[in-house]
Subunit: 259 residues, 6 copies
């Protein structure tokens, strides 16, 4: 019986690169803005390679303990609770650290020993050293757009990864994605992609991040249930992108010329 893979539209040759990194046991870093499919791609690759898969969305308070594990009090007993990193190593899974640059500095200890010739994790709280099996793979993502000089991956961490830069999908791919996810009218999908293209080229708008495919999908969903397309785009595209009155008006003008 064939396995059905989740839907993923390749944009360049990221599948080949990922597979080669997996073969060569090289950690993999996904760079790129919000909504370019980084997380979905890892999801897809885990399914394609038929591997168990752990995701950790890192934030300012994610620490090594969150990844590795901790002792917790359960009733009157103290029991050890493996974190996602320990679980992923034990099962030979893919561990995906989403937005790795946000995490606290102590996670590098775990990452460094896992990403060089040692491929081991030292669990200081138990004194145990766990060897990662060949099938374990570390994947991480980060968004260069957020990092404003002081919150970056250290070069000594960064240079441990093979990296790939995700960008917005091309028009055809994006149309396919929208139609596939919403069953919307093909004309609508085409127009939404055109809207996205125009907005992404308007670098003078100064948006921190430009319109993602996710927003187009949300917009198509609202149009599908009968909303006026311009109103749908105002709520699903313009309002999530900006709070500036001028930028908002410029985006809405642009939308009303196409939709």
């Amino acid at each position: 019986m064939d396995k059905i893979l989740p839907y993923y539209k390749e944009t360049k040759n990221e599948v080949e690169i990922f597979e080669n990194c997996y073969k060569e046991k090289l950690p993999f870093l996904l760079k790129g803005p919000t909504g370019t499919g980084k997380s979905r791609f890892v999801d897809y690759m885990a399914a394609k390679l038929d591997k168990p898969f752990y995701t950790v969305l890192c934030h300012e308070e994610t620490s090594a303990t969150d990844l590795i594990g901790r002792y917790i009090i359960k009733g009157s007993e103290t029991v050890w609770l493996d974190g996602p990193m320990s679980l992923a190593i034990k099962e030979g899974a893919i561990l995906y650290l989403d937005e790795i640059a946000e995490a606290r500095p102590d996670i590098i200890v775990a990452i460094h020993s896992l990403t060089d010739h040692r491929r081991t994790l030292f669990v200081d709280k138990t004194g145990e050293t766990v060897k990662a099996p060949d099938s374990f793979m570390l994947v991480a993502s980060y968004n260069p757009g957020y990092q404003k000089g002081f919150k970056e991956l250290k070069p000594s961490t960064r240079q441990r990864f093979v990296a790939f830069e995700f960008m917005y999908p091309n028009a055809e791919t994006e149309r396919d994605i929208i139609e596939n996810e919403t069953n919307c009218d093909s004309e609508i999908a085409k127009k939404l992609v055109k809207v996205a293209e125009k907005i992404r080229n308007l670098t003078e708008l100064g948006l921190t991040e430009s319109v993602s495919t996710r927003l187009l999908v949300d917009c198509a969903k609202l149009i599908n249930v009968g909303m006026n397309p311009r109103l749908a785009a105002e709520c699903a595209i313009t309002a999530p992108l900006t709070d500036e009155e001028d930028t908002r008006d410029a985006l809405n003008d642009l939308i009303s010329m196409i939709l």
Copy 2:
């Protein structure tokens, strides 16, 4: 027996948008200044859709634990206490995160997995993954006026919501609201709305936030119990809005020309 809805005066088409988002399981973000009825609107929609409803007013110390739950010591036992997010998911309710941009960064972990195709909440402390039922809806609000560049919603969080911008109600609506809430003289309501209109147009006053309908209602209440209208407006409108002597005098002059 008919259900009686709380009083809410629609300003544009926010009811339709909200209902469509609910149907399409899209998270909803309310943007706009203080006192434009954001919270009341969510209150109204919960009643209209006849759904249970949880509000969390976020502040600088609201963390994922506050939303999800924690173990507490009760007598000599350790018991788990669900937070409002866990409760809302279990009951298929609306969860309203008021002023979401104020909360601590770790809440995004809970929000991200709830707002994409997964619609799940991972409770790390119990190791449980809770699937949100179709009837669960996440609603959030934030006030672009507060965010001064460093305290913003991340684009990767923001782009997960359909958004709607609340503004001050138009004159007629606002008059209705004041009369409905205070039973005041219709002439007074009209004049108060005129005062508000004038103040909102005086952008050169540099007010962080302009006069909200709430202030007009408070003022009408004080007039109702017999206070001099100008004195009532000084206390209920001018003094809550500014500490600057010049601005105060300008506002009071403006008020005394109308009231």
Copy 3:
């Protein structure tokens, strides 16, 4: 038997405003510099309305827990200890949050739900929701002179209060206060008020706060027990106001021309 009210000299119409707010269940905010009688006024109103009365002097570390309550260990038992806000609600008292802008941000959660149509307090630690009786009133004070741009009341909090600005009392009132509190010679009281008037007009001195009635009272007390008036004024007025040599000399010169 008649109740004897504490001494309070009305400066404008703050008594009427306060009573109307109490009637209309509107929260009340007192603005103004140190020593203009804000706390004494609340004290007086509580007595006049014959209500129990709780004061919390807020500072940088006052949190919601301090207001609402906490579990404490008492012997081998864990018991709940109500904070002043919980007590005030239960007794239908006046709760006075002095220098509210100094407190930690999480107190707004308690304040917001108490100051809108809900008039409830949610005690997260016990899971209880307490409804404030009609007789409960929230009063707060803050000093616009301290707030230097970054420590302010949020507009969304501020606009929940009816506000009144306290200023230094006029000459006659201030004379009455000094005589009433110290039984000093009426000529001395008159001269001290003249000193205060002059200092308050010398805005070029750059004092963070000008001379309060309290300082005049202290000075009158020292003169009463036989101290040289100029020396008394130096210790009770000049030295508490400034550390700058030039300002000190200017103040002492001014004093020696009058006393």
Copy 4:
């Protein structure tokens, strides 16, 4: 039997002022640089008034708890331990808060209620309100030279004290102090005072604090045990005052012209 007072040389009329404040139950604030005898004066006054006396040297981490008291674990029991403020109130003693501006902000809660008409201390941890007896007196000191704009006493706290500015003693007084404390040769004392006078006038040296009487006493002691006077002055006066080579040389030159 007569009580022997500790040695203290009055510089102006601080004894009279202190006694009047004590009589009138006014809190007393000592301002002035290091080594001008502030602490010794309070010591002296406590003896003169024959009162028990508590000193707290405040620093960046002194909190209300340190002053008021705390529960501690003693064996298997929890016992309450009064802090110096509670003890001083109970005994009707003098409480001296040295360098009060250094302490943490929550101490103002305790200070405010003790320094106005209430004269009470609210012990939040026990729920007790303690009334200060008439014989209790609060004394504080602070050094305007340290406070660089952001670490100051709030005006609302400051204006609760009668204040007195301590300066370096005049030549005759200082000579007396040195001789009294060291039994040194009167000629040496005279020369040391001359050295101090010269250094204090050299404001162009930019010393944060100038030479205190304490340094002169230390120097006299070293000379007393046979050290070369210039060497003694170098170690006891110059080196504690500065690390700058130029300033050091200037001070040593000045010393060698006199000693």
Copy 5:
């Protein structure tokens, strides 16, 4: 039976220096950028000298406790758990503190007493003083490129080490390393070294750290499994080095001229 040493290519005379420091019981400090083989060198020396070997990767939260040890709760007992520094001393091992400048300041207490004539470690939590055997050696590394003025080794710590500066290997050595680690075609190794040489000379690119040998090895591995050399270099060299579009294009141009 001969021991097989891990592969290490000496760049200058670091082996001799290390051995002499070991003989003379002098602590050794490795300076230099990421990927110049600092950690591998210590690994090699430990094997060459046939010594047990402990590595600690220091980060912003590494404290003396992490190095020395702590009490932990195990079941119902409190047991002492030696940290890597205590273990290394007890076994007379090499202790390697990688990126020492990142650690918290309290580690200097442990380091200072171990690196002067005392050669002891004081374990404050147990009150024990441990004498390091002659065979114990302290080795540390740090990267001058990271330290931006405020996060540096104190001179009083730094001057306790003999130091050696690691640089990128010369062309021949680097070629050997690549071939040895990947079994790649010798022509490819040669070209990759040429790429590295060019990039390292392009100081105008403003890279925080330049290309390390590790990146060349990763690239060779990807080429080995059949990837297009330019694509491999883009993922393994360019993308880990920069997020800047201009820099990326310049690096890719340079790569495509050689590969």
Copy 6:
């Protein structure tokens, strides 16, 4: 039987000053750069005066508790553990606070009461007041080179010490030290001292701290075991002093002209 003192070469008259301070019970402060023998001098004086001796190396996290003592859990009991300050007082020992300016502010409480006429330590955790015997002496060191304006000893603390400034030893003394510690060739010692002298005069190099005698000793040791003198100096002198390429080359040039 005669006691053998540790080796110490007096540079000026610090022995006499220290002994006089000990006699007069005056606290003693050692100022000066790294490696000028401050710690060794205190070590020597303790031996010379035949006194027990406690050293505390202060850092950013050293607090009063670290000095005074704490309650610890030992098995199921709570026991008091004296800190080095309490121990030193009880034994009438010398307490040496190395780099005192690094410690946390609360240590001044302990220091102030120990360094004025009281000579007592108040142990707040036990409520005990300990009187220091005449034989107790407080010694501290600090390095003016580190203190960049915001981390300084307060004048009110500083003026409690007699101070002495340590400088690098003169040529003859330094030669003696090197030969004594390494048994190296006298010609080598002479040359190393010459190197040091040159470097110390090159103030235009901008070194935070110049070459200490310790570095010369390390260098002599490496030469002793057969290393090339220039290479030894590069590792033992240049590399520990600087990371700047220009400074490094200048130092190495200077070294190669002498060695």
